[in-house]
Amino acid sequence: MHASRSTRSSPPWLSLSLLFVLFFALPLVGLVWRASTDGDVAEALTATRTVEALRLSLFTATLTTALAVVLGTPLAYLLATRESAASRLLATLLELPLVLPPAVAGIALLTAFGRAGILGDPLEAAGVSLSFTTAAVVMAQLFVAAPYYLRAAYGGFASTDPRYEAVAATLGLSPWRVFRDVALPLARPALVGGLILCWARALGELGATLLFAGSLPGRTQTMPLAIISAFESSDGLAGAVSIAVVLLAFAAVLLVALNWLARARGPYG
């Protein structure tokens, strides 16, 4: 045991791992370094545009994640417990947005929910106009980010030994109780992991939001859009890195908190 452990951390692996860590660390260090020399993080933090964008980003990403959990958990459970060729096909279809470039996702949303889209006329008749609204931001994020949660939840439910649920059912538990008291706790680590991925992806969403929701401060301009907008401004890189560091800091704090929550509690580890 002890011998195999020291083999695993032998120099070639160690230096390769170190290089890989540096690959991730250097750009982040560069961002913080550039923001501290060129940028003005304090100004970026208090600027109305940044505050609005940050508030909008946190609100929409959280709402997106809540929707993904509420709508995605039952769907993933159904797909995982009613195993068939159709359910496997559907599960694969629902993962497609993972490989679509976000700009394509934005176009796809326009073709469905835009004014000239499939549902354009019925929506207009009902007085509903989605594009350029905060609702469109959430829809874009949901389309792009929810598949991360769905995939994790599906995997979690599918890898649970079905005998637990079968036993619970024979003991007289209703299907709802089986889901709530047996399947859900067993799949919990997978669900929380998917939730974190979904939230992180929603927070970083850019391409689909830009095309489907536009970019207007206070209404649809989330942090990634504000960063692109700042990069195109006369402040250029200095303005963009300042806002980017603010987003980085908030995302880091929230990710640490979510990961801590994921580990801290849970009846089955």
Partner: protein, 255 residues
Amino acid sequence: MLLALALPVALVGTSCGGGDGHTVFAASSLTDLMPDLIEAYRDAGGEGHFELSFGGSQTLAAQVIEGAPAELFIAANEETAARVVEAGHRLREAPLWRNHLVIAVRADSDIDAIEALAAPGVRIAVGAPDVPVGALTNRVLDLLAEADPATVEAIRANVVTEDTNVRVALSRVELGEADAAFVYRTDIEAAANEDVRAIELPPGMPATQYVAVLLTGASAETESLFDFFANHRFDNLVREAGFDVSPSVTPTPTP
């Protein structure tokens, strides 16, 4: 039409190619014109292989300042050219052509004049205030507000998106998502789309001045291309694309 919307987004952050040509950075509003100009330069006996890279003027300026190996930069306004000059990247500089703002609407739209944009519920796409087309839109609206502040206030309230790329703003009108967009006249010419028409602004509105900056380290071949532009050798092509080639009212000083 949908691809037209995707393309500008794909171009965000596009950097210069790693080929062996001389890199030329040009504002994205020159995307269709530049290849024709390079061809005309070749036909006129000009030498050199050029790699064209298009993007928002501000993005390109930032890339030049960050050390991108470009030899010529054509900015869509004087302010952006000045950023590169102030950062010490200028060999030479010349004013080129001007571009006027128009209102793009769908061909079947009821909108017939700028005042119609003030009606409630009209959705307007504009350039972000920091990119040249957005800055020009603000100047035009400020000027109009001197005569009719209430109308301009209503127009500003109808803005639904501030795009960093003017082609994205135009695509929103083409798709019918927005009712109107403030774009360059050349964008409508380039789109050559029968679904979209241009509404002219009242006379006397400001225009944006394109500026060519020959960057430090430029090759002799790139300087020769710069001279062709600076001497307005291709103005017939440029005029056909919808640019204003009449002499600038406030000429940019050339050192």
